[in-house]
């Protein structure tokens, strides 16, 4: 007979839990809001589970360390902004454990070379943020340490060595490995600039400079200095991405600026001419010669070269020097001597100024971002290798090339280079865990306290009600702040600290959110207690526990579920709010990400990708539970109204 068959645990479970749950879900699914809520909830849970399962070990503690994200650019927008017309420089990270060319060995010189090649393509005229090369696990061979040479072939055909360094390995033992990392600030600028000078035919125009060797040398070194300082803008590292433009306009001649100076000199010379009345030593021809030289310069100012100007003035200076010596030896009037001396020193000063600042020519180099494919080559050479190693590839474990572009990832990066998409992804399980633990625990406590308080009454009721009174009178946010601050200070630093602080928050949330539910449950219990079937159950000898679990609990449950659902977002939002308020626990919660943005000030606020997505996730998660709560509430309401 089927009726007498004992129900197994599984049957009971299906009957009492699975079937009602199915019913409720069906009912929720029947509502539009319920449908949306259930869909969102299932997405939330799926993402949380996958994030929790794939979270790399130690992520929670190391997400804030800069070395964890060293390959990422800092505070850059997501990659997809390029589809909205933004010009971007991509970020890449490439690692190679094998050389691209079979290791070369020249038996005559003994040079062993391992070559690795990388390519980076710049399609838009935008600078990447930075780049570097790293060579991991470098071993010495035969007590020979390698030389690392990194060179680039630019889209315009220029090939230049960027770095060359001899690696220092402490103990030249084959087992000891070393790591080499380039510093983009130490780029070999001279080589690059030389290549650019050759390729783009950048010279000081001979028709301006003339043939004076010294003037040529001064001018070209000046040109070089200006080019180096210009190409290093905005940084040395980015100099390789620049190409010169408008080369023909770089050098301008400042001829007209010379005229006032030359005329001043001419006047000084004419003064000398006028002051000589008696000329025993024949100084006048010298002066006249000087005047004619200067007049020639003034008249031909539009044509003369820099060298001509310089040499002619030098010549005038020599003439005046001779005149001065003669005037001194022949006891010319002091006014003549002084005038000659004045004119000479004026010319010498002018010569000096021409030599030092090159006031005859102005140089303003112009550069543009060079787009196209950049081919980098890393050569690791061991000089003087006597015997070819059996496995040359094992000398180097891997070579990495990382370009920090102007965009990165699905959601961009924040100020320590952390990939926002990754942070937010791993924030899912934390948020859900905080919300669910706090909410489930407080609901359980609230239901139990409410039932006990209502069912047993007497002094138990009194104690619970007074506790609720006190809890209701404490504003809990300030309390959380004070306890959180104390915890941050007192807890010893360590990997568990963040966990303890978060659990402390959850504990306070639990303590403060059961009271409201307990009051309602108590009043429900009071009215259920008076129902006749409870009397009947008591008369039949049912225990208190049985009555509570079989008769009261099921009726209170749906209301409790609604409260539970509503409490989830408030727990999540409270944690986030505390983070924004400056209480850092150290875990990458969505609130912590927003707190970082806020602490970064204008930089953080400027980065929309830093502020918008975490807040949206917080809002969406809350909305899921709010909508679910609304749906559950609709189911609960009829029963509430019977009270």
């Amino acid at each position: 007979m089927a009726a007498t068959r004992e129900l197994t645990f599984k049957d009971k479970l299906v009957l009492r839990v699975v079937n009602p749950l199915k019913g409720v879900l069906k009912e929720i699914w029947g509502m539009t809001t319920g449908k949306i809520a259930l869909l969102l909830l299932s997405i939330l849970i799926a993402v949380s589970v996958s994030a929790a399962l794939t979270m790399p070990p130690g992520f929670l503690d190391s997400w804030q360390s800069a070395s964890f994200w060293e390959d990422n650019p800092v505070i850059v927008p997501p990659e997809w902004v390029k589809y909205f017309g933004a010009k971007v420089a991509p970020s890449i990270v490439e690692e190679k454990s094998k050389p691209d060319v079979t290791p070369q060995w020249d038996p005559s010189t003994g040079i062993l070379t391992l070559t690795y090649r990388f390519e980076y393509t710049l399609t838009d005229p935008v600078f990447p943020q930075d780049y570097y090369f790293a060579v991991y696990g470098i071993k010495s061979y035969d007590n020979i340490t390698p030389i690392i040479t990194i060179s680039v072939e630019r889209p315009d055909g220029i090939t230049s060595v960027l770095w060359q360094e001899n690696i220092f390995i402490n103990n030249t033992n084959a087992d000891v490995t070393s790591i080499y990392k380039t510093d983009p600030k130490k780029i070999k600028m001279d080589d690059l600039v030389s290549e650019i000078f050759v390729k783009y035919n950048i010279t000081v125009p001979p028709n301006i400079i003339g043939e004076n060797y010294m003037i040529q040398a001064i001018s070209s070194s000046l040109l070089r200095d200006r080019v180096v300082s210009k190409i290093s803008q905005p940084s040395t590292a980015l100099s390789i991405f620049q190409k010169p433009v408008n080369v023909e306009n770089w050098v301008t001649v400042l001829r007209s600026e010379q005229r006032p100076v030359l005329e001043e000199i001419n006047n000084l010379l004419k003064n000398i001419q006028g002051s000589i009345s008696n000329d025993p030593a024949n100084i006048l021809p010298l002066i006249n010669n000087a005047i004619s030289n200067v007049t020639f310069l003034i008249n031909n100012l539009d044509k003369i070269t820099f060298s001509d100007l310089y040499e002619t003035l030098q010549n005038v200076s020599t003439l005046l020097n001779n005149a001065y010596k003669l005037a001194m030896s022949e006891n010319y009037p002091s006014v003549v001597v002084t005038n000659i001396n004045d004119a000479k020193s004026r010319i010498d000063k002018y010569l000096d100024s021409l030599k030092v600042t090159v006031s005859f020519i102005g140089i303003s180099p112009e550069f543009e971002i060079l787009t196209g494919a950049y081919r980098f080559e890393v050569n690791i050479t061991y000089p003087g290798v006597r015997t070819y190693p059996s496995n040359p590839q094992s000398l180097i474990s891997c070579v990495k090339f990382a370009v920090k572009g102007s965009v990165k990832g699905t959601l961009g990066t924040i100020n320590n280079g952390a990939d926002l998409a990754t942070l937010l992804y791993y924030g899912f399980p934390i948020a859900l865990l905080i919300g669910l633990i706090a909410s489930v625990s407080s609901t359980l406590i609230g239901v139990i306290a409410g039932i006990i308080s209502g069912y047993y009454g007497g002094w138990i009721d009194e104690v619970i009600q007074r506790i609720i009174d006190i809890l209701n009178n404490i504003p809990f946010l300030p309390l959380m702040i004070i306890i959180g601050t104390a915890a941050m200070k007192v807890l010893p630093p360590g990997t568990q600290k963040s966990f303890y602080i978060i659990m402390l928050y959850v504990a306070i949330l639990i303590i403060f959110s059961w009271a409201g539910l307990a009051i309602v449950v108590r009043s429900m219990t009071l009215s259920i207690k008076e129902e006749p079937y409870i009397e009947a159950a008591k008369a039949m000898g049912a225990s208190n526990t049985r009555i509570i679990f079989y008769h009261i609990f099921p009726q209170v449950m749906m209301y409790a579920v609604a409260t539970l659902v509503y409490n989830v977002p408030s727990a999540i939002l409270t944690e986030a709010g505390l983070s924004v308020l400056g209480l850092r626990h150290g875990w990458p919660t969505w609130g912590a990400v927003l707190a970082e943005a806020r602490a970064a000030g204008p930089v953080g606020y400027a980065a929309w990708w830093w502020i918008l997505p975490p807040g949206l996730l917080l809002s969406l998660t809350s909305l899921t539970f709010v909508l679910l709560g609304l749906a559950v509430e609709k189911i609960v309401e009829p029963r509430l109204r019977t009270l």
């Binding site: 809001t33 009174d469 006190i470 009178n473 404490i474 504003p475 809990f476 946010l477 300030p478 309390l479 702040i481 004070i482 306890i483 601050t485 104390a486 915890a487 200070k489 007192v490 977002p569 939002l573 986030a576 709010g577 505390l578 924004v580 308020l581 400056g582 209480l583 927003l594 943005a597 806020r598 204008p602 606020y605 400027a606 929309w608 502020i611 918008l612 807040g615 917080l618 809002s619 969406l620 809350s622 909305l623 709010v626 909508l627 609304l630």
Partner: protein, 368 residues
């Protein structure tokens, strides 16, 4: 049957006891966890260092190192006595004894002085500054923005809420429910961050930090008209954000409250009798909903003091929230304790006012 006075007095005593209990619990937490000791130790180290520096300066560097050592030790012991870490005989005072002193100081508003620049800058004043003074300046600023905001929201909700309740099930009603659901999910302070980002940094319409409001507030009477406009300009961002977010919940709440009454039998009867809609609203609907609405208003006014801490600090409105932020980021424990004590006090006073109003509005409470 005891009267209303008895009831109010009883509630007053309960609230007072809660207040004292909360302060004692907090004192216990701070002392027993060792947090307070750490703070005192840091303060004492700082004071001793300052004293030694002063000594060296006064003697122009001509001091025997051994004497400095002795002097440092003496000063440390003296300050430790002063701060109650050791007693007169030099024996350490256990933390369960010290917590009573801390609680007593907190209950008598003897909060001490802050030494943090950031904290004092909220007023602004120079450290060391009396914490009681700082809070007395800062608390009204919080009340200005929070109370005004809450009153605006309540006024709008009371005007619109009942109308929506009558149009239960219409498109407008659904819009309001959706709006309420949405705003209950969006954190107030996040919207504040977005507001700062868009209207502050991007468009430049409003300041990105509201700290500047102190100037027109302090010199209000020098040019009331102009200062009023300036204050209005400063107050707009928090008020806008606050109104947008909390209006949803209020509309939903009042709608639900009125809806419950509209469905009551006596309203149905009134409708069936053919009474004009306006009379039904005034006599049958609004009157019974007055008590719960008033309760909610007062409770909200008390609650917002706690709820705006984060938003205020995000806007850098120089009120309690910003003071909290400054105290937390500089680790100024004394200010945090003081703020907590004041918050609990203000909250409990609000609760007490609520209890009184409760008794006045709803006679049933008296017989509870």
């Amino acid at each position: 049957m005891p009267g209303a006075g008895y009831y109010i007095a009883r509630r007053g005593v309960v609230l007072l006891v809660s207040y004292v209990a909360i302060i004692i619990i907090i004192a216990a937490i701070l002392e027993l966890s060792g947090y307070a000791t750490q703070i005192y130790q840091a303060v004492i180290n700082e004071l001793v260092r300052a004293d030694v520096d002063a000594l060296v300066k006064a003697r122009q560097g001509q001091v025997d190192p051994a004497y400095i050592q002795e002097y440092r030790q003496n000063r440390t012991i003296e300050y430790m006595k002063q701060y109650g870490l050791i007693d007169e005989n030099g024996n350490p005072v256990p933390s369960y004894v010290r917590m009573w002193k801390l609680a007593f100081n907190a209950l008598t508003f003897n909060f001490g002085k802050t030494k943090e620049d950031l904290v004092a800058m909220v007023v602004p004043t120079m450290p060391p500054a009396s914490i009681t003074y700082i809070i007395s300046v800062v608390l009204p600023r919080t009340i200005i923005v929070v109370t005004v905001g809450e009153l605006i929201v309540i006024a709008i909700a009371l005007l619109v809420g009942p109308r929506i309740a009558y149009r239960h099930g219409t498109f407008l009603d659904r819009v309001v429910v959706a709006y309420a659901a949405l705003t209950s999910a969006i954190p107030l302070w996040w919207l504040a961050m977005l507001f700062i980002r868009v209207f502050g940094y991007q468009l430049g319409w409003f300041p990105t930090s509201l700290r500047g409001v102190t100037t027109p507030l302090n010199n209000f009477w020098s040019n009331p008209a102009q200062n009023f406009v300036t204050i209005l300009w400063y107050i707009t961002p928090p008020l806008t954000v606050f109104t947008v977010i909390s209006l949803g919940g209020w509309l939903y709440g009042i709608r639900a409250m009125v809806l419950r009454i509209v469905r009551e039998d006596y309203v149905m009867v009134a409708k069936a009798k053919g009474l004009p809609e306006r009379d039904i609203t005034r006599k049958y609907v609004m009157r019974p909903s007055l008590a719960p609405i008033l309760t909610n208003v007062i409770l909200a006014l008390a609650g917002t003091l706690g709820g705006m801490i984060i938003t205020e600090s995000v806007f850098d409105w120089p009120g309690m929230g910003t003071l909290y932020y400054a105290a937390i980021t500089t680790g100024d424990a004394e200010t945090i304790v003081a703020l907590f004590v004041i918050y609990v006090g203000v909250y409990l006073i609000a609760r007490f006012i609520l209890e009184i109003l409760y008794v006045l509005v709803d006679p049933r409470v008296r017989v509870r």
